[in-house]
Symmetry: C2
Subunit: 384 residues, 2 copies
């Protein structure tokens, strides 16, 4: 017997009942059965994003969803401001440049989050900016951005659209599309939504929809005007990933029944506990402003990543994520995004304790799991 | 008890063992397990396309796969010739125009297939053409194109790349990428590959790969150069639809074990039998050059499509496809593409007989199923 546990920030584990729903016989996407299901999905996606605005479903990865926003909302030469605080923020600088947009980069050290002053400065220097792209939870650095505050700053100082990469944040961090004045938010299926990768979701405000009317960048597959037209009939412009939409339907049912605010709190508690466990083992956290979705940790000197990871994987069945780009071999990342409960947090810290011990790292046996338990006892809803 | 049977040209039914494979716990796409599986998938895709060239896997519908070929191979102002003999051919005229290509349209009546003379004329008038796009099996009209012959014609008369929409053809019609001198062929997952929608596959010749080096149309998500680079390491540029790739792995195992030539013959036999059954019921076939994947049939006067379809669906659990665009309500289409055997052909004709009878269509009871049986007895491998 060998059990595997996945702690990566996408794909994330899929609830068993959702897996089985996706294994049901195929239905046709131009049928009343599909339309009825898609209508329910569309309603529940609005709940997930906390919006009354349309949330469009695309068959692509999250990157495709962000591309759809660039090509559908802007015209060649338009200026957009992008925060680059990691691998994904960097992508939101490169991508618009590819399509002939003028991307103004706010470059941060990995592990830092953008501050109001960064945004104000960029908007002052570029009053022509049509949009600001923020990464709510930068997966590569496990760093959270205060989207609520920055959205206010953007709206106070400009008419720029507030565009959010919510790919690892939606379903983990508090997010209120309407109340916070967000114009575009993209997420992917393999994150807080707990289903396999293959779908992207794009929420659009009325300002964003108006911008699409005059945008001239060429687009076809990722044309959100087409997706919006068909959305109104609970349909899609191209054949959608039907089985994944069945999965979203099942997952959103779970999300509604837990309640989105409870889900945000659960993720916050999980993140606190994981950080406490890691710190108690004498390891150091990487991010200055940690995400609730994923926790990056410095690999201490004396521990060799390949060996540590090998032990975690082959002896304890645990898959975590390594560092990306310049942080490969220097940090590792534990995801706690989606289908995880408190006992999963204990399990991953327990596995890490065991693997660290086998790498001759010195700490008191059980220090990590004890710290996790203390946080949960202190923060559990029943003890408050 | 109510059994449903899907006879639509995508999504097509998914074999039960493939459904269950896709329901297995999620694995991470940057892991040795995934890479090992993806290597096997990549090898088996070459078998499916009958090629030694790379076959790239994209997370999108088939339409996204064709878009990837346009944006990755061409530069603004390039001329491409597209055959428009139906809804999909029409899309391959509109799409390149969207991206600033000069698309020369060979317009045919629905139900007609392009002839060598059409291609020769277009290439004579447009010697600058960089490519010719053919639709191997036009799903909207159930019409097959003689790709082998036309590929020869294109290569004899030009240096244009031979680009094939093989979306409903690959895995149904004989297709030999290398031997026929094809440069680009696209298919989708929900067709002959028998898995749910959400993946596109693009095979590229060395000439096509060379064309990508100088192509300047902007692209990011659909940049096949990036997909080709990662392909060499059994990886993908963006998070792929992991569960669907697991499905492709299982489906390609089935395909290899049946043997691609046997699969082509099975589809041919199925198409013959369905056509014979339909004709024996006094109905008329729509296409002049019928596909082996889908059979379109004129709805005879006196039969009202909505009522007929309603009976088929609610009494016999059979979903067929209606006509598209100007043929809505005028034709219907039976798919026999993918996971179907001879007894499925009997079942669908039997259901159609019953529904026609209930619509007061006159014919001898059992005429359709008898004709189907005769074809199978005559054409079965054992009786030859």
């Amino acid at each position: 017997m060998f059990k595997r546990r996945l702690f990566t920030p996408g794909p994330t584990p899929v609830p068993e009942q959702v897996m089985l729903r996706m294994a049901e016989p195929m239905i046709h996407h131009r049928s009343p059965e599909f339309q009825k299901m898609f209508e329910r999905v569309n309603n529940n996606l609005q709940y997930l994003f906390q919006t009354t605005q349309p949330v469009l479903t695309l068959t692509s990865s999250g990157t495709g969803g962000v591309e759809a926003s660039f090509v559908s909302l802007f015209s060649p030469g338009d200026t957009v401001v992008s925060v680059n605080g990691g691998k994904f923020g960097e992508r939101w600088v490169k991508m618009p440049r590819t399509f002939g947009l003028n991307a103004v980069e706010i470059k941060l050290e990995w592990g830092q989050a953008p501050q109001p002053s960064h945004i104000q400065k960029a908007l002052k220097e570029h009053p022509e900016a049509k949009a600001v792209y923020l990464t709510h939870s930068e997966t590569s650095t496990g760093t959270a951005t205060d989207v609520e505050t920055l959205s206010k700053v953007i709206r106070e100082h400009s008419n720029a659209l507030v565009c959010v990469d919510g790919i690892t944040a939606v379903g983990a961090h508090e997010f209120r599309f309407d109340q916070w004045g967000i114009d575009v938010c993209v997420t992917g299926s393999q994150k807080g939504l707990m289903i396999p990768p293959g779908l992207a979701f794009v929420a659009l405000s009325q300002r964003a929809i108006a911008a699409m009317e005059t945008a001239t960048l060429p687009k076809f597959y990722f044309d959100l005007r087409k997706a919006l037209q068909t959305y109104k009939k609970n349909d899609t412009p191209w054949t959608p990933a039907v089985s994944l939409i069945v999965g979203v339907d099942a997952a959103l049912e779970i999300i509604r029944s837990e309640g989105i605010e409870n889900i945000w709190k659960r993720h916050e508690r999980m993140a606190h506990a994981i950080r406490a466990g890691i710190t108690a083992l004498g390891l150091k956290l990487f991010s200055e402003c940690p995400s609730h979705a994923v926790t990056p940790i410095w690999i201490p000197s004396g521990i060799e990543w390949t060996m540590f990871n090998q032990i975690l994987k082959t002896k304890y069945g645990i898959t975590v994520a390594g560092g990306q780009d310049q942080y490969a071999g220097k940090i590792f990342r534990i995801s706690h995004l989606g289908y995880y409960d408190e006992l999963d947090a204990i399990s991953v810290i327990a596995g890490i304790e065991r693997a660290l011990h086998e790498c001759n790292w010195k700490f008191q046996a059980g220090a990590g799991v004890k710290a996790v338990q203390e946080i949960f006892q202190m923060e559990s809803p029943s003890s408050r």
